[in-house]
Symmetry: C2
Subunit: 464 residues, 2 copies
């Protein structure tokens, strides 16, 4: 728990060759059984060992009375049994050579049972066995098909493979954001819910995600920070390698009080923490929705050459609102189109299209008008980033437009994001674009703040 210790290696929990599920039973509603079932239905390719003293077979798998029967054969163990039995079973894991443990069981510090939690830590330390939890949802990786989440998929849909890794102290916040990530159609690298952080803590996980090559962006929801100095060291290294988005709960005295009664976390002084985050080059989120807004732009976009934004729109009003949103941010600017651009717009566009930024293509714009506009603007050296507003309520906007924007995104060398706002018809197209790596935003303000975060991050990178 003190600063200066080496990171605990959790890689075996996320990419195990074999998994013991301790607490799986023949009752399919038990948490352990749901977890075992998850591994099966996600298509996990490694070995699965249900551990239960009272069963010979569970879900078609041979069950074992104890991990001790499987010495040297288990990479990671997922524990879902009543809290009081956890330390004993962990000791057995240690003896059996288990490399890491995920304790999903609750009933420790978060309900005042600090002694039991201390015992757990002692066992984890004794056997040098990195332990995630207790009181957590555990881990998920769509690539290795690891999935300890004991919540049914109809409640939380599981995301596709992607580049965003998300670590969350709170299980509920974790599952909520996971569900959102999947609902929006963008992909996940790793999900790590670490609950009470009794052994493995935020710094260990951060160190792991810095090294993880599949992780392009690190997103973290924190309640407390246990080893401030170590965390800060890791944080500074992290941002030089990949973007980190952080949402800290307990930013006000009311929040700090609430955080303490939640995971017994000492939230600490947010002003100090915020200064640390900034110095480390983190992107600071202020609300849950920010996490996704920032994550998706940072995952899919390259470095912008400068702060000048061009807006292309099929709705004049939405263009005006977006110009307002850009202009109200201190670091972004509205691009001034070059004369070549202006001439090209006049030449290729209908007469009512003004060669101005925002470039209002009018309500009857379809994919060809958009693609002409994007060709012109992507060649304009005065334009560093593109916001494309595609309102699918207008007559010309349909799946062909969405496809064209995806196609353009792939060849455009400048950061390019989309704003689309609306109900079902729009949602279908949003998901189509989002799952093809084109970030879509639901308002002028969120899109503008996302580009600002992108610009700030690469400013930070280039200043080091």
């Amino acid at each position: 728990m003190t600063d200066g210790r080496k990171p605990l290696d959790i890689s075996s929990a996320l990419d195990p060759k074999s998994v013991a599920v301790i607490g799986a039973s023949r009752d399919p509603d038990k948490v352990g059984s749901i977890i075992l079932q998850n591994y099966v239905s996600s298509g996990y390719a490694g070995k699965l060992y249900p551990i239960n003293p009272n069963a010979d077979e569970i879900l078609g798998f041979k069950a074992y009375k104890s991990v001790l029967e499987l010495k040297g054969k288990i990479d990671t163990a997922v524990i879902a049994i009543p809290a009081e039995f956890v330390p004993k079973v962990m000791a057995e894991c240690g003896k059996a050579g288990v490399k890491s443990v995920v304790v999903v069981s609750g009933g420790f510090s978060e309900v005042g049972n600090t002694k039991l939690q201390e015992e757990l830590v002692k066992v984890a330390d004794k056997y040098c066995m990195p332990t995630i939890g207790p009181n957590c949802l555990g881990v998920m990786d769509p690539r290795t098909r690891v999935d300890t989440l004991f919540l049914p998929t109809y409640k939380i849909s599981r995301p596709e493979i992607g580049g965003v890794s998300f670590m969350a102290q709170s299980g509920a916040v974790g599952s909520t954001v996971l569900d959102l990530i999947s609902g929006e159609g963008f992909g996940l690298s790793k999900f790590i819910s670490y609950g009470n952080a009794a052994h493995v803590d935020e710094t260990d996980i951060l160190e792991y995600l810095i090294k993880d090559r599949e992780t392009k962006v690190i997103v973290m929801y924190l309640e407390g920070i246990k080893r401030g100095k170590d965390f800060f060291e890791a944080a500074k290294r992290a941002s030089r390698i990949k973007p980190v988005v952080v949402l800290k709960a307990g930013r006000t005295s009311a929040g700090i009080k609430a955080a303490h009664s939640h995971t017994a976390a000492l939230a600490g002084d947010y002003e100090v923490q915020e200064a640390v985050f900034r110095q480390a080059g983190f992107t600071i989120a202020e609300d849950l929705s920010d996490l996704l807004y920032y994550a998706k732009v940072l995952e899919s976009e390259k470095a912008p050459k400068g702060p000048r934004v061009a807006i292309v729109t099929d709705g004049g009003g939405a263009g005006v609102l977006t110009a307002d949103a850009i202009a109200s941010l201190s670091d972004l600017k509205m691009a001034e189109f070059s004369n070549t651009t202006k001439a090209a717009i006049k030449k290729t566009m209908p007469p009512l299209v003004n060669a101005a930024n925002p470039l209002d293509l009018a309500g009857d714009a379809e994919e060809t008008r958009y693609s002409n506009a994007l060709s012109i603007l992507s060649n304009d050296d005065n334009v560093d980033m593109l916001i494309v507003i595609a309102l699918f309520q207008t007559p010309g906007a349909d799946s062909k437009l969405a496809s064209k924007l995806i196609e353009y995104k792939e060849k455009c060398e400048k950061p390019m994001i989309v704003i689309s706002i609306g109900a079902e018809y729009t949602e279908t197209h949003k998901k189509m674009m989002e799952s093809s790596g084109l970030p879509v935003y639901d308002s002028p303000a969120s899109a503008s703040r996302a580009l600002s975060a992108l610009y700030k991050y690469y400013q930070f990178r280039s200043s080091r």
Copy 2:
């Protein structure tokens, strides 16, 4: 166009006994035909007269060569013909005694055709015939089934009957927000898209909505304000009668420039306008998404007795974030529970539930635990408003919980809103609650800002 004139009465456009659709034709893709079809499929009960010089019958209705054949029989005319013919046809409307006109055709000031627009205004004035538009989507009212929107319902779903009226200068912004309103499942009173505001302007519409008894909340998207003094007078009166939410485009110099090239509106100095809005007691939105956040809380909630908020949650982390969001707003406060409340919580709740605000009911909370908590808190005089966080990813949250919250909403005398965040499973329940008049928010920040807007509005009301 000058201050001090009487409001133009547009009630006949929204509640007409008979409608002429000028420009309906046998080609079903023509704007006029789509509009006629809308009236038919929405179930409009009044008389419909298609006007077309080259047809005898359209969609089963007898067609007329000109409105002059129907003298005294038409309440309102919707005009969807090429711009150049509009003034002539409007003059015929005037002669035929048409009470109001909606010109959806574009091709006036917004493309530099100011002369033609001046002609249009002259005709409107000559016949004292309030004219909405040109270059607009027109009007919609789910009660009277008026629907001039020429966009298909698969692109813009139409909202249910409700209390929110929405006026928008921009057609695209209008249709986008309309689509959102319908997607979220809350109801609409009137929708008025007024485009170039050549004749009927924002002040006329505001005056109409102040008087309209079905309108509980007025939501406006403005680009320009034509008669500043008249507008301000109406605004001051409005807020004393019902809440008004305003989003003004053109708040920065970039936005002002953009607004001018959009509807030729002179956006004016936003600092002055903002001061006027504040003085009038308007709720000021800064982004499109704010319009809905504020509208729904103002529509469904009564006056809070004070600024003290209680949070009930099934996710500890979400509770902490919401406490942070409340505490960071200057006008709201976290409630301190009374001793009676604390004792009641200890008595009725499982031991791990702390009698603190946020009240964390734990991840296994189901409808009974929620309803116990809400019973206790609604009796606590230290609590003025309630935020209920229902994360449907947790094991205990399902349709029974949503129903229970709706039931509670109906009997609770304090303002009560919900936060639910997630993908499909959550969306289903959000829509269920929203359509029963229980406002649901997608983040701690938006929920908190909504309650702050509610509190501010009733503070304004009580201070007059």
